[in-house]
């Protein structure tokens, strides 16, 4: 039964990394969502804004997340003025850098998803809102956004799972989330398969919970637009 003992002990150690994995995901997704909304609105409302946003999306979707994380974590510190600035205590922290990189990356993907959602809002629904005298803000809040979000939700659910997976890269800037702990155990014990099974199970459970949550939200928001 030594095998089971090892699996149990490994699992226990790995579970210690779950709060950090979940925290990084929640934090970066929250910041990313706000950024994505701003990007999507900027893109829709001005021509130079649209060019800026597409350049942003091009860079963040066209390069590896690992490079983005390293660039923020190591790259910023190259300059004396950054090291002297008030932001330095934050930019020195791997937690802040990883969160920032993840959020910026998520924003690029999520803004594209949201753009697809906006494009799918039925014209008639917007027209009906105008016809009853809705202001532009009310129309956005009560008609356009709910429909765009509802439409984008399935794709956004996939993006959320991608973000859970992406937090594993934080381990490469010293953060001991689930994958970081897994690496430490593997390099100590050389039992990659067992550790993989335990860590993999944790991620699959997290993904399953997220998928369920999105499904519940979809049901709550009603059917997708036609």
């Amino acid at each position: 039964m030594r095998e089971l003992d090892f699996l149990g002990a490994t699992m226990l150690q790995l579970l210690g990394g779950v709060p950090l994995t979940v925290g990084l995901t929640a934090g970066s997704v929250a910041v990313g969502a706000v950024l994505a909304l701003l990007l999507a609105l900027l893109r829709a409302n001005s021509r130079p804004g649209a060019a800026l946003v597409s350049a942003y999306v091009f860079v963040f979707r066209g390069t590896p997340l690992l490079l983005q994380i390293f660039f923020i974590y190591y790259g910023a510190g190259q300059f004396a003025f950054v090291r002297a600035s008030v932001l330095w205590p934050f930019l020195r922290e791997p937690w802040c850098c990883a969160l920032l990189a993840l959020a910026l990356n998520d924003a690029a993907y999520a803004s594209e998803i949201l753009r697809g959602g906006f494009a799918a809002v039925p014209k008639g629904a917007v027209e009906a809102g105008r016809a009853v005298g809705m202001t532009r803000l009310l129309l956005l809040r009560r008609v356009v956004l709910p429909l765009a979000i509802r439409q984008a939700l399935p794709a956004y659910g996939n993006e959320l799972i991608a973000m859970v997976k992406s937090t594993s890269l934080a381990s490469l800037v010293t953060l001991m989330e689930v994958t970081g702990i897994a690496y430490a155990i593997i390099s100590e014990t050389y039992r990659a398969i067992e550790v993989f099974l335990c860590a993999g199970a944790i991620y699959l459970v997290l993904n399953f919970a997220l998928t369920r949550a999105v499904a519940v939200l979809e049901a709550k928001l009603g059917p997708a637009g036609t």
């Binding site: 860079v59 066209g62 997340l65 490079l67 398969i193 699959l204």
Partner: protein, 239 residues
């Protein structure tokens, strides 16, 4: 004393890192192509099993795509790299080969990223198959085509045409995931950027160079896929 002139730094002279970055980019391209091909094999087999296989095979494919699309890529790379001997030995048994098989970064990276790519490729190929209008298959049956002929002349080309956008996405993903193979010490682009950054203490400059090189790779190869899509769809009228 290191120079900080970017033209010298990124150049190909004795103090320049240009050659090493370009070599890294070439390695990234090589390992990505290898991984993509591995993924194509896995994905092709899995999609076939998913569409036409018996129930246990379909279950197995479901497990494969769920696991390798749901678990962090880095973890898969650790599994293959560190558990390489274990995994490869059992895989060797599967192909009738016994004994220990050594593993280097390129091989481990190719296999790991290929396994992941295969899981996504399965979905892309299956989606392509499902998108074929039923009538086209019926028409093939009506003119008396056999199963194999139909697969070769109708199903494969049509499925490819519908699967190609998804297959292009898988390629982009592979190209970016290949950066994670740097943890095995393989000198691909990400590693070349890291080495240059550490040696010169100019992580910002080399980070920018890394962004530029990756963007060249992703946008150039994206163009290749777009051309392929266009040429496969060339007979179709715009609707």
């Amino acid at each position: 004393m290191n120079t900080s002139n970017p033209f010298v730094l990124l150049g190909f002279g004795p103090n320049g890192w240009g050659a090493s970055l370009v070599a890294g980019a070439a390695m990234t391209l090589a390992v990505s192509i290898a991984a993509y091909l591995v993924g194509l094999v896995f994905g092709g087999l899995a999609a076939w099993a998913r569409i036409a296989g018996p129930r246990p095979a379909r279950r197995l494919v479901g497990l494969y795509t769920t696991v390798f699309r749901g678990i962090p890529e880095l973890l898969v790379i650790y599994l293959v790299y560190f558990g390489g001997s274990e995994a490869l030995t059992s895989l060797g048994h599967l192909f009738g080969r016994s004994g220990f098989i050594g593993l280097d970064g390129f091989l481990a990276g190719t296999l790991a990223v290929g396994l992941i790519a295969g899981a996504y490729q399965t979905e892309a190929l299956r989606g392509g198959f499902l998108a074929i209008p039923r009538g086209e298959i019926e028409a093939a049956r009506a003119v008396g085509m056999g199963r194999l002929l139909m697969l070769r002349r109708v199903i494969a080309p049509r499925a490819l045409r519908f699967a190609l956008p998804g297959m292009g996405n898988v390629w982009q993903q592979v190209l970016k995931e290949s950066a994670l193979i740097s943890v095995t010490g393989l000198s691909e682009l990400m590693r070349a950027v890291n080495v240059a950054s550490d040696s010169t203490r100019l992580p910002f400059d080399f980070g920018i160079a890394g962004f530029a090189l990756y963007l060249v790779l992703t946008s150039f190869s994206g163009g290749v896929f777009r051309n392929a899509e266009r040429s496969l769809a060339r007979h179709e009228r715009a609707r």
